[in-house]
């Protein structure tokens, strides 16, 4: 490259922000690494708890989420959003269910990891939900 050329970033440096740009102002579901599902318009969030048997919405105000904690962003189809295949419960009911499920999941994962290790498999490190 000619030394007098102005420094330029490769064009793909901007693709990520462009992809997120067209999700701005859309209603999204954000799955986080800790298992939380945030639902809201990009930059103004509500939290929704899911368990196997019910769901409950928890108003959360504004969330700023660091990228590394995100599993995926899903754009919510506004025609389908009211057909949640679960009954809505109160926060306390859903929270109790969720806690019980989390304990059970943890136990299962421990057993699975122990068995995999015995077979010589490495841990994948982080536990995602």
């Amino acid at each position: 490259m000619d030394a007098t050329d102005p420094p330029t970033l490769p064009p793909q440096m901007f693709t990520t922000s462009a992809q997120l740009l067209d999700l701005t102002d859309k209603k999204l579901m954000v799955a986080l690494r800790d298992g939380r599902k945030l639902i809201g318009v990009l930059r103004a969030w509500d939290q929704r708890i899911y368990t196997d048997e019910m769901y409950a919405d928890v108003p959360r105000g504004v969330f700023i989420v660091r990228g590394e904690n995100v599993l995926l962003l899903g754009e919510i189809d506004l025609d389908k959003e009211d057909d949640v295949p679960l009954p809505q419960g109160t926060f306390n009911e859903a929270f109790t269910h969720q806690k019980r499920e989390a304990t059970e999941t943890k136990r299962r994962e421990r057993v699975q990891r122990r068995k995999l290790r015995a077979l010589g498999f490495e841990d994948e490190g982080e536990v995602l939900h």
Partner: protein, 99 residues
């Protein structure tokens, strides 16, 4: 950058993304970036009733770092070309090191 270029050739094909949390999402590959973040359209989720939070979701942006596997359509992959590109990339990397 090889796999970035490779995935770009698969845009508009149907792929299945398996996440590290065992979630399997099938959809049309819409875009991929340098972190191998992936955008899928018209998604279907394997074992749907286990993931109610995806019931109303039709397209997703998946962070590259949480992907375990990408299941590819075999007929859309030119294996010989991919092998050549791999050798070329390896040769380039070796050339840079030697300098």
């Amino acid at each position: 950058m090889l796999f970035f270029s490779f995935f770009k050739t698969l845009v508009d094909h149907e792929v299945t993304i398996e996440l590290k949390n065992d979630l399997c999402i099938t959809g049309t590959l819409k875009s991929v970036d340098q972190f191998l973040n992936i955008k899928l359209d018209e998604i279907r989720v394997k074992d749907e009733q286990k993931y109610p939070h995806l019931a109303a979701v039709s397209n997703v942006f998946i962070r590259g770092s949480v992907v375990r596997y990408v299941h590819l359509p075999a007929n859309a992959v030119d294996t010989a070309l991919l092998e050549d590109a791999t050798r070329r990339e390896a040769a380039n990397a070796a050339g840079v090191k030697a300098r």
